[in-house]
């Protein structure tokens, strides 16, 4: 029983990285922009956050710095694809290459650095409950914040006027433009929000999850987050489900290996991808549903004149 509680706790912890990044990417994709630079942004933010944490010793300042770094990169990407109409996919790929190289360069002197020994987090009162305490209430505050953000984003998209405008822009930027909405500015804001979230996700990896900085440390998490938004048909609740599912199956397969289960480890390593794709494809197998949720203008350039 204790094992299960620990598994749930580890799932929340490892799923949070994907949840944060994918929720951010969901917003900018809802506005019609695909940012393939997510991995690069996460890497740059991971070193920005780590360096800040080393110098200040404060997680929150580190997250703020990472968010700012993510926003700057995303803004550069946004200006290129929104105003200069460069190809979104090519520009995104260039950004992810740039991010990998730049973070390696900027992080040279931080590979040997360490953060102070971390304190444990608990929610007073709840953390001592049997089973649910260790399973749910001993996480870094960012874990709960990610869940709160998912709810806030769902509310924003489906219950607020601003969210409606954002979705309208993603569906048909021409119509939104005709109605007088500043399509390009709103798209830029959406892209920057995505950058901030990817940034926070990157810092979560370096500052909270692994406590270290090494070159290329995100190891593909940005790409998984990108795939997740698509498989989750751009719905916040599904993104969250997919992120925890991926984290959960990853932890479960490692646990099974540790128990000495007679399955090849290469097969088990594949499981998280397989399970996540399978579940998300099954729940969104309705073609109409995909059509309704997929932003119609995604990936396409918009010429206002």
């Amino acid at each position: 029983m204790e094992q299960v509680a620990l598994l749930v706790a580890a799932t929340l912890n490892s799923g949070t990285v994907l949840a944060l990044a994918a929720l951010g990417l969901l917003i900018n994709e809802r506005a019609g922009i695909v940012n393939l630079g997510a991995e690069g942004i996460m890497l740059v933010a991971a070193i920005a956050g780590f360096a800040t944490a080393v110098h200040t010793g404060n997680d929150w300042i580190a997250f703020a710095a990472a968010g700012v770094a993510g926003a700057i990169l995303a803004a550069a990407f946004g200006v290129l694809v929104i105003w200069l109409n460069t190809n979104q996919y090519a520009t995104g790929l260039a950004l992810s290459l740039f991010g990998a190289g730049f973070s390696a360069f900027a992080g040279i002197r931080y590979t040997q650095e360490k953060l102070g020994e971390h304190r444990a987090f608990e929610i007073p009162g709840l953390a001592d409950l049997p089973f649910v305490g260790p399973a749910l209430f001993r996480q870094h505050p960012m874990v709960y914040l990610a869940i709160a953000l998912a709810i806030a984003i769902a509310w924003f998209l489906y219950r607020s006027r601003a969210g409606l405008v954002l979705r309208a822009i993603g569906e048909s930027p021409e119509s939104a433009h005709a109605l007088g909405y500043p399509v390009r500015r709103i798209r830029l804001l959406a892209v920057m929000f995505g950058g901030v979230m990817c940034g926070i996700a990157g810092a979560y990896i370096s500052v909270v999850y692994t406590h270290l900085w090494v070159e290329g440390m995100t190891a593909g998490k940005g790409w998984i987050a990108l795939a997740l938004t698509t498989f989750a048909t751009w719905r916040p609740a599904r993104v969250l489900l997919g992120a925890y599912l991926f984290g959960g199956v990853t932890m479960l397969q490692l646990q099974l290996q540790g128990e000495g289960v007679q399955l090849s480890s290469q097969f088990l390593t594949m499981l998280p991808y397989l399970a996540t794709i399978l579940v998300l494809v099954l729940i969104s197998r309705n073609a109409t549903f995909i059509r309704v949720n997929m932003p119609a203008s995604i990936g396409k350039p918009f010429f206002p004149d």
């Binding site: 990896i205 190891a219 090849s264």
Partner: protein, 400 residues
């Protein structure tokens, strides 16, 4: 129609220019990392007339011997590549202006490596070290084309008249770490985060377990594979799952310090691997099993300078030659365990102690080595089973 095609043309141009940009960025990065760190301008000795026309790797006294290193990772990885670069610095200090060294970091284990080796040759390097398994084929190719240059390849098995291989007995470090782990565990459960299930790693896991069992026969070792050499988030997840499963001392055969840091966060113990990792988590760190490449690099350089360097052959050094050590043993380790480690180390040094000596049984009950039988290097090179006390099976082992 015209408008459409115009647009796609613009798109194409955008793709092309971006690709070119990315390519440029890649190239310039490569060039930037080529760092020559030698006291330049010391070439003032006499000039002899013999040129390097003969295939013999004799370098005359005309200027310093140029030595180049190709690294798979960044020098600052704190592990594998860091250890190689420390040895490079050591020989530079030792031989002074008789040699001139340079290195290239982050050379991928692919076709690109061949270009790097050719560059090194054209820059006049006479002795070239390639420090990862994946350089084997590209290095062999370049070696065949340039018979007057000496090539040294780490961890490989293919040789040529002007190329030889070298490796270190990392399993001796794993065994000594195991002795400490056996003395420190309270749950009698150890955990290992494995990278890729190849004989070297399996041998390390087994040796770690044998070391632990030498002080505590009840030891069980759990293994989790991440199927990569370097993936900090997954290494963290793997370490966490081992801790959740009851392991309280962890070891890793991966390239980052993530496992050690995770153990630190959870209040458990772990080891440093390849390089001294004390600083990453002083409370969790029990000791570091380190590789010291300096003795071998010194020997190779000396031979190259003397003109006695010979290609072919494989060198596999361990504690005896000073290539493997266990360092920075924590104060938390009780004195009797420390003594035991010192005894093992001394035994390995003078040859009176052998790790892979029977009786050894595999974890499915088969006797692998009979009593007092000693494993030879060929046996050690092909280990694909777990010894008794390790849980599970080596992935893919039953297919052979």
């Amino acid at each position: 129609m015209t408008r459409l095609s115009k647009r796609s043309f613009v798109q194409l141009a955008g793709w092309g220019s971006l690709a070119a940009l990315a390519l440029l960025a890649g190239c310039s990065k490569e060039e930037k990392t080529t760092t020559t760190t030698a006291p330049a301008g010391t070439t003032t000795t006499t000039t002899t007339t013999t040129t390097a026309a003969a295939p013999a790797p004799a370098t005359s006294a005309s200027g310093p011997l140029k030595i180049a290193f190709a690294y798979v990772g960044p020098v600052g990885d704190g592990g594998w590549t860091f250890a190689h670069d420390n040895a490079r610095k050591a020989i530079e200090k030792e031989f002074g202006d008789k040699i001139q060294t340079s290195f290239v970091e982050n050379v991928p284990e692919a076709a690109d490596a061949e270009r790097v080796f050719r560059d090194m040759v054209s820059q006049g390097n006479k002795l070239i070290f390639g420090t990862t398994f994946g350089y084997m084929e590209p290095m062999l190719k370049v070696a065949n084309d340039t018979p007057n240059v000496m090539f040294e390849h780490a961890t490989g098995y293919k040789q040529a008249p002007n190329m030889r291989t070298y490796d270190s007995r990392t399993y001796e470090g794993a065994y000594m770490a195991g002795v400490i782990a056996g003395g420190m565990t309270k749950t009698n459960t150890l955990g290992v985060v494995g990278s890729v299930p190849i004989p070297e790693v399996v041998r390390n896991i087994n040796s770690f377990t044998l070391g632990a069992q030498s002080v505590n026969p009840k030891i069980q070792t759990r293994v989790v594979w991440v199927n990569k050499w370097f993936d900090p988030p997954n290494e963290t997840a793997a370490a966490q799952s081992l801790i959740n499963g009851g392991a309280d001392v962890l070891m890793q055969n991966t390239d980052s310090s993530a496992v050690l840091q995770t153990a630190g966060k959870a209040g458990k113990y772990a080891f440093g691997w390849d390089s001294d990792m004390t600083a990453y988590s002083p409370n969790a760190h029990l000791a570091s099993a380190v590789i010291n490449w300096t003795p071998y690099y010194k020997k190779a350089t000396q031979e190259a300078l003397d003109g006695t360097w010979k290609g072919g052959g494989h060198t596999w050094w361990g504690v005896k030659e000073g290539a493997i050590d266990i360092v920075s043993i924590s104060d938390k380790v009780p004195a009797d365990v420390k003594d035991k480690v010192e005894k093992v180390k001394a035994g390995l040094k003078d040859g009176s102690f052998v790790i892979w000596k029977g009786p050894i049984t595999s974890n499915d009950g088969k006797e692998i080595l009979a009593k007092d039988a000693v494993a030879d290097d060929k046996f050690l090179g092909g280990i694909n089973f777990f010894v008794k006390g390790v849980e599970g099976k080596v992935p893919g082992a039953d297919k052979k």
